[in-house]
């Protein structure tokens, strides 16, 4: 009995620490990219094209993960790509969360016409196919970091609004809300003091999921060349380039892919781990 619980806690802890560790590492890489990158991520050298990673025959010292067909260092490009990926994840995720959760909370607690307007807006919004919608948006406002973030916010706020609304409604029907209202709490107080803390664990899980989704969306847009306009390396762009030479140099495709995969996985596991650890009802 005690052993089982001990293992359970341990596993939960491990998940949280592994994902948080990977994301911290990425954030550091993004912040320190110009100083820790072994090479210039943009420097081309056609004599050093398609060098394999360090453990294979024909590798050059200093090019740990090999080079792409233009002779650019893969590791340096991944580190620099983390800058765009992490910026998009944190900024787009947070802004989406704030807007979506606020609207969802209002709709869930206030009922009436506020709820009707917001709910119908969500329904209409969700009828648009998201990828096409984002490509259209970028086409209209032009590529760039701000445009990607805006596209994600504009498309994904419904994710939060929908779930938070439903949860807020469920909480608002609980007896403790009625008790608080008898005790003289107004609508705003009810919303912020009574209901918000109980919806918060769910918002945190959604937020981390959304950050993972933001990373994927950024990669998709880079993949179809609609991301940022400069030559700055992005993971999606690297995957797109690596795809064309996968038979000659698989590492150009595989390393950014693994990084992307681990990042998205870490974001979702971070949310689950945080919920298990801090939700007072589950604890």
């Amino acid at each position: 009995m005690a052993d089982g619980r001990g293992q359970m806690r341990h596993r939960v802890g491990l998940r949280l620490w592994l994902s948080a560790g990977w994301l911290t590492l990425l954030c550091l890489a993004a912040l320190l990219a110009p100083w820790i990158s072994p090479k210039d991520p943009l420097a081309q050298d056609l004599f050093l094209g398609r060098l394999p990673p360090f453990w294979m025959e024909g590798a050059e010292p200093g090019y740990w993960l090999g080079t792409d067909s233009l002779g650019r260092d893969v590791l340096s490009r991944i580190l620099h790509g983390a800058r765009v990926a992490m910026t998009v994840a944190l900024v787009a995720g947070t802004v989406t969360c704030l807007i979506g959760a606020a609207l969802g909370l209002l709709a869930g607690v206030l009922h009436g016409w506020v709820d009707i307007v917001i709910s119908r807006l969500i329904d209409i919004w969700m009828a648009f196919p998201p990828v096409l919608f984002s490509i259209l948006l970028i086409a209209v406002i032009g590529p760039g970091l701000g445009a990607i973030i805006l596209a994600i916010v504009v498309i994904d706020w419904t994710r939060f609004a929908r779930v938070v609304r439903a949860e807020a409604m469920a909480q608002a029907a609980m007896d403790y809300v009625a008790s608080a209202q008898v005790a003289g709490r107004g609508r705003l107080g009810t919303m912020l003091v009574e209901i918000l803390p109980n919806v918060l664990p769910m918002i945190v899980v959604l937020l981390t999921l959304e950050m993972g989704i933001a990373v994927i969306v950024e990669a998709i847009l880079s993949f179809v060349n609609l991301s940022i306009s400069t030559d700055d390396p992005t993971w999606g762009g690297m995957i797109a380039e690596g795809r064309t030479s996968v038979h000659q140099a698989w590492w150009v495709l595989v390393f950014p892919l693994i990084t992307l995969f681990l990042t998205v996985l870490s974001f979702s596991q971070l949310g689950e781990g945080l919920k298990d650890r801090f939700d007072p009802v589950l604890r």
Partner: protein
Amino acid sequence: MRNLSARVRGAPGRLLRDVSLSVAAGEVRGLVGESGAGKSMIGKAVLGILPRAVEVLSGEILLDGTDLLRLAPDDRRRRIGASCALIPQDPLTALNPSRRIGPQITDRLVDILGWSRTKAQSRARDLLAEVQITDPDRVLRQYPHELSGGMRQRVLIASAFAAEPKLIVADEPTTALDVTVQKEVLRLIAGMQARHGTALLFVTHDLGVVSKVCQSLTVLYGGLVVEDTAVRDFFPAPAHPYARALLAATPKYTDPGSSLVPVPRQVLDGIQAQVDAADRGWRHG
């Protein structure tokens, strides 16, 4: 409360049909009736927490001579917060799971009555001690999920008496509890009520409970008051046929062989006629 009528918005029938009842200071009034008779609805109306879909058609709710229904929403909220309280049915959902017990008791004292945090804190400690919680300081710092159902109900009772309210509505406070805990909680509520001299509206469907705690009694059927009397007159000789049938339907533990007695058909028909008569007057008026 005088001639209170209410209905679901847009629905043809009424939920409450000209209900009048009063609770004097220091009095415990039982409010009994079947499911759907409108007992809880009355409690909610008094406390200003009627569901949105329910509208009050007519009547007044007087608290010390002020009609609560005529006050602006904000004034009503403060007025009710200062002088009314609720002991809810289900202690498991009646405390906010993500806040500590302390602030949940003291919030009202600080926000509505303008007390200082420290004063409210010591008041909460005294109250918890009064409901026989052994370590009040620890409980104040705990979260609801750390307490048992009986403990939470004690906390809720303490919380209801925190602001020395004039009126407390207890909405089936023992229904969700274990039978062994029920008795204790009843005694606790009755004791607190007597000490603090509060008016208590006790909503229940258990006549046995009424006979133990209440001084007067209102019987509801279909949102209509069918009997309004003192408890000591009611049990020997209920006036209304429905009340008589209800009393006869109470299972008797002294005679385990007896089967349950349903309320007879003609009594229900009679009462339905009474409900219809009340509605006829309402439609034409």
